[in-house]
């Protein structure tokens, strides 16, 4: 389950770089059965001009991740998602790697560091290091990326206008602690108009689900959804941890100017090509410890994602993770051709889907769902209450919820992240009070509202097996750590069996 050298207690991470790096090497060779060439093949460097096949499989510790490119194969030569159109040698694919479910695992970052001595454009000073002011050749200056897969995200403060309206924050923000130097000094920090937070790359692919709009009302905001000024379409509100971008166009423009350090804007042709690629790509785990995830009547894997309608609410349509219902009862024929371990694993996945949907626990103080929308605080729900979109596990409504992952007292302790003090100027925050300590204010960095501090947009749950660690700040080292976080946060009382069933379920998505 857990990789050697992937530090569980990240407080110790800085003290263990050598061991961590060695562990990463071991992991790399374990995957790359064909030796170095296989490891090279795994990593997509910008500008290689490879052909992106229609079906592409990569192994990971839980099985195989498959990408499916509708209309593929695609010659990536000259394609702006794959070419280093940047000033720093990067392309989009640098942080959105097929083998990592179109995100980037921390293990892959470590492999790259070791393979290139830290020379890969991934480690660009701008956001591939803890801060550009640090000595760039040293591993310690890239510890957040290497240990937890985190990229520096620099947000404008006060926030840029949102939906054409000026944003006037109702809170002040001070830097309590700045271990990396990117929230203080002459250039950085709120006083200079910038706030740096550190986040995991969110997976691209399966985008029709993240852009889908099931209803034209947002229950968390108590408002109709805003519309795209260009197309008039309703906006899903499900992109980026802080939802600073509503559309793929806004998102890629932001990515171009930041991650790619482009000195010009993307052209319309480039935008079209990137969008077309993002919209035709589907990614999901294709095999797991129980064999193929679309075998024995199950409906896992990317082909189903390609063909299904997006935006369905599991509670009124196809149940969330109902893909694995057929594995609840395994036929005699199937038993005859499967190993006992595979049978047991499939049944565990099927139970995990039920635990996800039906095993309730008491959720409290989760701003976004317990505050205004009428459910009350606390309320009893299962995982799928928030992760409610059929086949994707993101939120059908705009999914900004405060789970506590980035905000004290619920967040894990991380001495290597900046810590901010938010002071609400009007009403206090309903649960944290007037003063809030947070590593990442999340949605509040876009809306300027103290009520939104700590809210993070729910992600896609597909391809999890390929892209540890989890949560926006990489605080859960593996799938078990995700379950453990919920167990601690909401005092759930899952049995050991239920925990393992959830982990097994998540490993085949």
């Amino acid at each position: 389950m857990k990789r050697v050298g992937q530090p569980r207690h990240l407080r110790f991470a800085k003290a263990l770089p050598v061991i961590a790096a060695a562990g990463a090497l071991a992991a790399a060779s374990a995957y790359a059965s064909g030796g170095e060439s296989a490891a090279d093949e795994r990593w997509w460097s910008p500008g290689e001009g490879r052909v992106f096949p229609e079906v592409l499989d990569y192994e990971n510790e839980h099985g195989t991740l498959r990408t499916l490119l509708v209309g593929g194969p695609l010659d990536t030569e000259g394609h702006p998602f794959f070419e280093p159109i940047s000033s720093n040698g990067r392309a989009c694919v640098t942080c959105h790697q097929p083998a990592d479910g179109m995100s980037l695992s921390a293990a892959t970052a470590r492999e790259r560091w070791d393979a290139t001595n830290g020379d890969d454009p991934l480690f660009a000073a701008y956001d591939g290091s803890n801060c550009p002011t640090l000595p760039q050749g040293e591993r310690a200056s890239h510890s957040l990326l290497l240990d937890r897969g985190l990229i520096r995200i620099q947000r404008q403060w006060p926030p840029a206008p949102r939906l054409g309206e000026e944003v006037v924050p109702d809170f002040t923000i001070e830097v309590v602690r700045d271990p990396n130097g990117c929230n203080s000094g002459a250039e950085y920090g709120p006083e200079n108009g910038w706030i740096s937070v550190y986040r995991r790359p969110r997976p691209i692919g399966n985008m029709k689900y993240l852009l889908a709009v099931g209803f034209n009302f947002d229950p968390k905001q108590g408002l109709a959804l805003p519309r795209d000024p260009e197309t008039g379409d309703y906006l899903s509100g499900n992109l980026m941890s802080d939802n600073r971008a509503f559309t793929l166009k806004e998102q890629m423009d932001d990515a171009g100017l930041t991650h790619l350090e482009m000195l010009r804007e993307l052209t319309d042709d480039e935008r079209d090509a990137i969008k077309a690629f993002e919209m035709s790509l589907f990614a999901a785990q294709q095999t797991g410890r129980g064999g193929a995830v679309d075998d024995g009547g199950a409906q896992g894997g990317p082909a189903v994602l390609r063909d299904a309608e997006p935006g369905e609410l599991g509670s009124i349509g196809f149940p969330v993770w109902g893909e694995f219902a057929a594995w609840e009862e395994i036929s005699e024929e199937d038993r005859a051709r499967l190993t006992p371990e595979q049978v047991e694993f499939r049944q565990s996945v099927a139970r995990g889907a039920r635990v996800f949907r039906d095993r309730t626990f008491l959720v409290s103080d989760a701003a976004g769902v317990t505050t205004q929308m009428g459910f009350g605080n606390p309320f009893r729900v299962a995982c799928k209450m928030c992760h409610n979109m059929t086949r994707m596990g993101n939120d059908v409504a705009p999914g900004q919820v405060d789970l506590g992952t980035t905000t004290l007292p619920f967040a894990d302790h991380f001495g290597d992240l900046p810590l901010f003090r938010i002071t609400c100027q009007n009403d206090p925050h309903p649960y944290y009070g007037r003063e809030i300590l947070t590593y990442d204010p999340g949605f509040a960095l876009s809306t300027g509202r103290c009520a939104d501090v700590g809210k993070i947009t729910l992600q896609s749950m597909r391809g999890l097996a390929a892209r540890a660690p989890y949560f926006s700040n990489g605080s859960a080292a593996d799938l078990r750590a995700v379950v453990d976080y919920y167990e601690r946060r909401y005092n759930i009382g899952y049995t050991e069996q239920e925990k393992q069933d959830l982990v097994n379920l998540m490993s085949v998505l």
Partner: protein, 257 residues
């Protein structure tokens, strides 16, 4: 859509804390108690106690449920139901409005053998974009009413959001000349459980503005005039569910042809 259980005349009956007959209205302020029943999602119980009569009530059917950190202003009608769900007789229809200036200690009871209620999606459930409602003419002048929690301007899920959404679909089909949206606030003080309660005057305007913002997104290009009024009085319309106080805390969307 939900039909009011109570004849319209009852709505205008005087408030009385002692009233306990079926259909009578009770209103008081109480700290809420959460009873952690588990009958699937959203099956927990909310209990409150009327300090004057000493009676405990089940208010779990409020469209905006309590937060255990704050007192709630309860307005509800005694229902013809026993205490078998949550351990107290039921108020329904009922409203619980959070009073954020009055903190309460968090209090939770175990199920103690009570099952809670299996969650059933309410009738006022947003329609999905895939299945929009169809309205047929002839269309003429009409007023829609959306309702709010005490002193709040939030369009609550599975109640007011539905009303505004459905109004927008109707208006889209009817193609009127313009809309006049008027926000109301119940600013005349009332005495409840020894407290004086009155909505703030600004809430009338912000209610109107919230509804106008929602409508302008649902109906781009529609001409909408925004108005607001304080000193709101009860009216008799079905979606207030026979709760007079609820009917005062409203926005009217007048459709003009």
């Amino acid at each position: 859509m939900k039909r009011p259980l109570i004849a319209a005349t009852m709505m205008l009956a005087p408030l009385s804390a002692q009233a306990q007959e079926v259909g009578e209205i009770v209103s008081f302020v109480s700290c809420p108690v959460y009873r952690d029943t588990d009958n699937g999602r959203k099956s927990g119980c909310w209990l409150v106690r009327d300090g004057e009569s000493g009676k405990q009530w089940d208010v779990s059917q409020s469209p905006h449920k309590p937060n255990w950190d704050y007192a709630v202003f309860v307005e509800g009608r005694v229902a013809d139901q026993g205490d078998e769900f949550c351990g107290a007789p039921v108020l329904e229809p009922v409203r619980t409005s959070r009073l954020l200036d009055h903190r309460c200690p968090r209090h939770m009871l175990p199920p103690e053998g009570y099952p809670g209620r299996v969650f059933i999606a309410p009738d006022r459930y947003l329609t999905s974009l895939a299945n929009p409602p169809e309205f047929e003419g002839p269309f003429g002048p009409r007023t829609f009413y959306a309702f709010f929690e005490f002193d709040r301007d939030f369009l609550v899920y599975q109640y007011s959001d539905f009303i505004v959404q459905q109004a927008a679909y109707w208006i889209e089909a009817a193609q009127p000349r313009r809309l006049v949206v008027t926000g109301y606030a119940a600013t005349d003080p009332i005495e409840v459980s020894g407290m004086e309660l009155a909505e703030s005057p600004e809430i009338a305007q912000s209610r109107a503005e919230v509804v106008v913002l929602a409508l302008s997104r649902l109906l781009p290009g529609m001409e909408i005039e925004t108005r607001w009024e304080t000193g709101s009085q009860p009216i008799d319309v079905p979606d207030a569910d026979t709760i007079p106080g609820q009917s005062q805390r409203r926005v009217e969307i007048a459709v003009e042809f």
